[in-house]
């Protein structure tokens, strides 16, 4: 029954990514990321209940605090400062993007079938969802022009990884997880700093303009 809950949350995260692909407002995208992180936290709690691993609660709490609250807030601040609220025309239009993402999901699931069979096999849905999220996140980074969207996509990929960590392995060793989360935050900060500098310099957050270095 808890397994189903986990899978449900995973599915919810997948949906959130589809929604991200499906619209252009940066604010909504950030909110969606927040929701996605909440679901991730939920997965953590569920697994904690299932496996009786108290440290998973810590992880979950940390995830929700950081990824559902701090980071979205930070990113919204960046937007306000920059004053750009919509993603301009992406390289691939929305309907096509959605179709391609379906394809990517297929790829992810196809691979995840390999997991089920193994003796210590893990629920392949979770891995399937995670892999598709990774691919879709990367796809978002490829097709979207705004630096902020790319950061969000990157964070989505990060969430996918944690989904595997929580949903499929019932948590990595705590020290490692703390270290990783810390690094992730730092990365986001650095990215944010760079975005600020870029915006100051180029009066734009459109990374497709950053193409002076060729050959």
């Amino acid at each position: 029954m808890i397994q189903d809950l986990v899978i449900l949350c995973a599915a919810g995260m997948l949906v959130s990514v589809y929604l991200m692909v499906g619209q252009k407002s940066l604010v909504v995208a950030i909110r969606l990321y927040g929701v996605q992180s909440l679901l991730l936290g939920a997965v953590g709690i569920a697994m904690g209940l299932a496996e009786h691993r108290p440290h998973l609660y810590v992880t979950a709490a940390l995830t929700i605090a950081l990824k559902a609250v701090v980071i979205p807030w930070f990113l919204l601040r960046v937007i306000d400062r920059v004053g750009i609220r919509r993603e301009i025309e992406p390289f691939v239009n929305v309907p096509a993007s959605l179709l391609l993402c379906l394809g990517l999901t297929v790829v992810g699931y196809r691979v995840s079938l390999g997991m089920a069979g193994g003796s210590q096999g893990v629920p392949h849905q979770v891995v399937g969802v995670a892999l598709s999220m990774v691919l879709m996140g990367l796809f978002l980074m490829v097709t979207r022009r705004k630096a902020l969207t790319q950061i969000l996509a990157l964070l989505t990929i990060e969430n996918a990884v944690f989904l595997v960590a929580l949903g499929a392995t019932a948590g990595m060793p705590l020290v490692v997880e703390l270290g990783i989360s810390f690094d992730v935050i730092l990365a986001v900060m650095v990215l944010g700093v760079l975005v600020n500098r870029i915006v100051d310099r180029f009066e734009s957050m459109d990374t497709s303009r950053l193409s002076n270095l060729r050959g």
Partner: protein, 674 residues
């Protein structure tokens, strides 16, 4: 004692390098130190080679080792290596002496040290190439040789031609080296050993499935250095671009490195060769010889002319090797021995007369500051000694009797014609045809060097520089005299050379002692019963008798006192009315226009209708291989590279897309079902 000779010789060169660096501030001292050291090194390697040739026993040892890679550089001097060491020393020693005098006024003092260093490194590496006992030693020396040569070619790097030709040389050489690396390792993958003794003993390759591939790879790899058409493109560029002393060494000494390799693999090194291989080598040799001499003939730049004739002589040597391989393939080692002996003999002779000619040319260029035949002329009056030596060299390279060129070409003829008796139908006709081509080659060479000598030294000077030239110094003339003496000696006593060569041939894998040819002081004899023989000494009295008669004619006639200007059909003869180098070659260019494909344009200017006031004539022969093969190839590669620029077009999105695509591909490749 003989174990220490090669290291000793290399030590001499190393000392040369060190001294050149130390004394770089005093050009004069630097010159003497560097080149006397190199002279010492050459003498030592000559002694080493001579002792091995005399005793017939190989000398081996280790030079240096790279413990980390577990690789070591050893050497083994067998008679074949010894032959090439001696050949190289015979040329390198006099050229070293020449360099001392030549660099004094032909090289900016600042570059003396550089030349001294590169020169000694070059000699070191060449000697190691000939002495290497394994793949790695060989490849190291081979690469060092290439780099040192390129550096020397680029000595005058401010001039675009030098830079260009140095790079062309590097590029072509690396094409070759790549082939060699592949060939050697492919060959070694059979036995697992990298020692020549195991690799090129014949057995390894005989069992290899890659035999033909191996031979082609070797042929390309060594062919580049030997200047075999169509891999020769670098040669006529690089040889003239280098300082004349280096040109002499490159032409007379460095192409031998390629020929050496071809003998190693051709003479049983890959087991008994296929008849096809022999045919191929013979064909390449003939093509190189003919094209080489034809382009030399049409060339009006003295040093380029000599460079093209180098291609020709490499071709002649290859014809000998080809005949040898055909004989070997037909299971007649004695014929094989004859062919290889002929080729090796020609290699030695070429070192002598081409060295002589390049040194002479260097003297001329230094004295007049020009290489263009059209701007030379009349130097026989101003530089009589140089002229005499150059004439002797020309006669030798033209294959005229009593000189060494004739002796080795004679031997090549024998190889071709003897092979005729053994082999099957196809070779019965191909070999004598090769003989005819060789005859054509040497006749054309005669024409070519009549032109080279006459246009440089005879009639009136065609430029101010030529009319004010002065004779070279003794330091430049002595080495030429030495090489001239070598030309005469090697021409008058072929029997002694052949006797040595019999030993060399016998030492090759798949040969062993045979009686295809024998030699003595009297001369050399081919075949049993005597198919043909040559003892120049016997004809010398006849020639002297003729000269005596001619001189005697002077007694009966009134003595020649009067000198008068040559008859100019009423007009005044001047440098302008002389027969030009272009005009001299014109008839043959017309005859062979099918090969030359000259572009000619005649433009008439009519001041009054029907009355031509002026005619301009332009004729140009452009190099076909550069034009139709290498040029397009290079452009294609660069164009392709330019197209690939889009990979790195600066778009982060594209870069991320690569990762995405890779990820999808890999995941799909993993599949899902366990």
């Amino acid at each position: 004692m003989s174990q220490s000779l090669l290291p000793l010789g290399l030590a001499f060169h190393a000392t040369g390098v060190a001294l050149a660096l130390v004394l770089r501030r005093q050009p004069a001292a630097c010159r003497w130190a560097a080149f006397l050291a190199s002279l010492g090194g050459s003498l030592v390697s000559f002694v080493l080679g001579a002792s091995v040739l005399a005793s017939g026993r190989s000398v081996r040892g280790v030079l240096f080792a790279n413990p980390a890679a577990g690789m070591s550089v050893g050497y083994a001097v067998d008679p074949l290596s010894a032959w090439f060491l001696v050949t190289f020393a015979v040329l390198a020693a006099p050229v070293a002496v020449y360099s001392v005098g030549y660099l004094a006024h032909a090289m900016p003092p600042g570059r003396t040290a550089f030349v001294g260093v590169a020169w000694n490194v070059l000699l070191m590496s060449v000697e190691t190439v000939f002495a290497a006992d394994g793949v790695l030693a060989f490849l190291v020396a081979w690469e060092l040789m290439t780099l040192a040569t390129a550096a020397l070619v680029a000595t005058d790097h401010e001039s675009r031609p030098s830079r260009r030709s140095a790079f062309l040389y590097l590029a072509m050489s690396h094409l070759g080296t790549g082939c060699l690396v592949a060939a050697f390792f492919l060959l070694a993958s059979g036995s697992g050993s990298l020692a020549f003794a195991d690799l090129l003993g014949g057995a390894t390759a005989a069992s290899s499935p890659w035999r033909d591939v191996l031979f082609v790879l070797f042929l390309v790899g060594f062919g580049v250095k030997a200047g075999v058409v169509p891999l020769h493109v670098w040669l006529p560029e690089a040889h003239p671009a280098a300082p004349s002393n280096v040109s002499a060494l490159m032409s007379g000494g460095l192409i031998n490195a390629g020929l050496y390799g071809l003998v190693r693999v051709g003479a049983g090194g890959l087991g008994r060769p296929d008849p096809g291989w022999g045919m191929g080598v013979l064909l390449l040799g003939s093509v190189s010889a003919i094209l080489g001499v034809l382009y030399a003939l049409s060339e009006n730049d003295l040093k380029r002319l000599l460079a093209f004739s180098t291609i020709e002589n490499g071709g002649i040597a290859l014809m000998g090797f080809g005949a040898g391989m055909i004989g070997l393939a037909a299971g007649r080692p004695e014929l094989g021995a004859l062919g290889f002996a002929a080729g090796l003999y020609h290699v030695l002779n070429h070192a002598a007369f081409k060295g002589l000619l390049f040194l002479g040319a260097g003297g001329v260029v230094a004295a007049t500051g020009t290489r263009k035949l059209e701007e030379l002329g009349g130097l026989a009056h101003r530089m009589p000694r140089t002229a005499g030596l150059f004439l002797l060299g020309s006669a030798a390279i033209a294959g005229l009797p009593l000189l060494n060129g004739f002796a080795s070409e004679w031997l090549v003829f024998q190889a071709l014609l003897r092979g005729f008796f053994s082999a099957e139908r196809l070779t019965r006709i191909v070999l004598p045809l090769g003989g005819a081509l060789l005859a054509l080659t040497s006749a054309l060479a005669a024409a070519c060097f009549v032109k080279a000598f006459a246009m440089t030294f005879l009639a009136r000077p065609r430029s101010r520089a030529a009319s004010e030239a002065t004779e070279s110094k003794a330091l430049l003339l002595a080495p030429q005299a030495f090489l001239a003496a070598a030309c005469v000696g090697l021409g008058l006593f072929p029997g002694l050379v052949v006797r040595v060569l019999a030993g060399v041939a016998a030492s090759l894998p798949g040969f062993g002692p045979q009686d295809a040819f024998s030699g003595g002081l009297a001369g050399m004899t081919i075949g049993i019963p005597a198919f043909d023989h040559l003892s120049p000494l016997v004809i010398v009295p006849a020639v002297l008798f003729g000269l005596g008669l001619a001189a005697a004619s002077g007694l009966v006639s009134a003595r020649a006192r009067r000198r008068a200007p040559a008859w100019g059909c009423g007009g005044e003869l001047s440098a302008e009315t002389e027969y030009t180098a272009t005009a001299f070659a014109k008839p043959l260019v017309m005859v062979f226009r099918g090969i030359y494909r000259p572009t000619r344009e005649v433009s008439r200017f009519e001041s009054v209708r029907y009355f031509t006031s002026e005619v301009r004539y332009r004729s140009q022969i452009d190099a076909p291989f550069e034009l139709h093969v290498y040029g397009p190839a290079t452009r294609a590669v660069l164009a392709a590279a330019g197209q690939l620029r889009v990979i790195q077009a600066g778009s982060l999105h594209a870069y991320l897309a690569y990762v995405l695509v890779l990820g999808v591909i890999l995941l799909w490749w993993l599949g899902g079902l366990p």
